[in-house]
């Protein structure tokens, strides 16, 4: 009984977060400027990091947290690099 309650709560959280990712994805598709798309990517990756951590808890696997950490790091670097490329276009 307790186990079913736990998985239900986590699944609800995952679905709510996935709905957030989809909303950001829509903004990424229609965003009029490149900067809008980068904003969408930035928040999508943060939400995705949390979703990986939630999956780690759902499957009771400690090592999935490593995956979340590395994913978050690579997403941070991606956003910084794209932002730098946009900046260089100025002059």
């Amino acid at each position: 009984m307790n186990e079913i309650f736990r998985t239900t709560i986590i699944q609800i959280s995952i679905w709510v977060a996935v709905a957030g990712v989809i909303l950001a994805l829509i903004r990424g598709l229609i965003g009029p400027t490149p900067a809008d798309r980068v904003v969408a990517i930035d928040s999508m990756t943060t939400v995705a990091t949390v979703i990986i951590a939630l999956f780690a808890h759902l499957f009771k696997r400690f090592i999935y947290l490593d995956v979340a950490l590395v994913f978050g790091l690579l997403a941070f670097i991606t956003v910084l690099i794209i932002a730098r490329c946009l900046e260089r276009r100025m002059i």
């Binding site: 090592i63 490593d66 995956v67 950490l69 590395v70 790091l73 690579l74 670097i77 910084l80 690099i81 730098r84 900046e87 260089r88 100025m90 002059i91």
Partner: protein, 228 residues
């Protein structure tokens, strides 16, 4: 017109991928080779085992020779790229990077190195390994290059690490050849699964591969980012 063409190409690729993947008999019977791997990698009395997942066992112990080949391919690619970039005039950065990004990168850089080392030291216990650890170290170097325009990486240090680690890999393999009769034989035994010091030569090989890949990719980043 271009958009429609791109849509058609992407749609065809996606459909083909979906069709191919849905016809793979995933998780249904195993082939002869897979059966051999699965039975022997789970058997903990076998010296060819000891990691916490089968994939690591297969990649390092059964197919360690392939890993040597992969490292060689990476080395050749890095060398080729540096030859390609030699004498090419790079575009200058026209605007100064932001102070906040600079300071934030400065704070986070050592922790990226620490994470990379953690990933390859624990390669036999977690899904990581030598290649991901090396890539994370190289991304740290890339961040520094993005944020300090006049940074010069210690290129000779990269070369020394790369060469010595490549030699060490072959030496470990040769010791296995002398002791056990086959290249990269696991001469240290399996040990107790789940401990840090276990799985014989897997941690050693992963540390060697991690340092080598990290140095190689950092050199590659240096070649592409620095003015020649």
């Amino acid at each position: 017109m271009r958009h429609i063409f791109a849509l058609i190409v992407v749609g065809t690729l996606g459909l083909g991928l979906f069709y191919t993947l849905s016809h793979i008999p995933f998780g249904k019977g195993l082939s002869e080779v897979s059966k051999y791997y699965v039975e022997n990698a789970i058997d903990k009395n076998d010296p060819h085992a000891g990691a916490t997942n089968i994939v690591t066992d297969i990649v390092v112990l059964y197919r360690g020779f392939d890993t040597l080949g992969e490292v060689t391919v990476l080395f050749l690619a890095a060398t080729g790229l540096s030859v390609f970039f030699f004498g090419l005039k790079k575009k200058e950065y026209t605007c100064e990077p932001s102070l906040i990004v600079k300071r934030g990168t400065g704070i986070i850089f050592p922790f990226i190195l620490l994470l990379g080392v953690y990933i390859f030291v624990h390669g036999h216990l977690t899904p990581g390994g030598g290649f991901p650890g090396g890539v994370i170290i190289a991304t740290g170097v890339l961040l520094i290059y993005l944020c300090c325009r006049d940074y010069k990486a210690p290129h000779s240090l990269f070369k020394v690490i790369e060469g010595s680690m490549g030699t060490l890999f072959v030496i470990v393999g040769l010791i296995g050849l002398i002791v056990g009769g086959s290249f990269l034989f696991n001469f240290l035994g399996a040990g107790k699964t789940g401990e840090l010091v276990s799985a014989g030569i897997i941690p050693i090989l992963y540390i060697v591969i991690g340092l080598k890949v990290g140095a190689e990719l950092s050199g590659l980043v240096k070649d592409t980012m620095e003015d020649v």
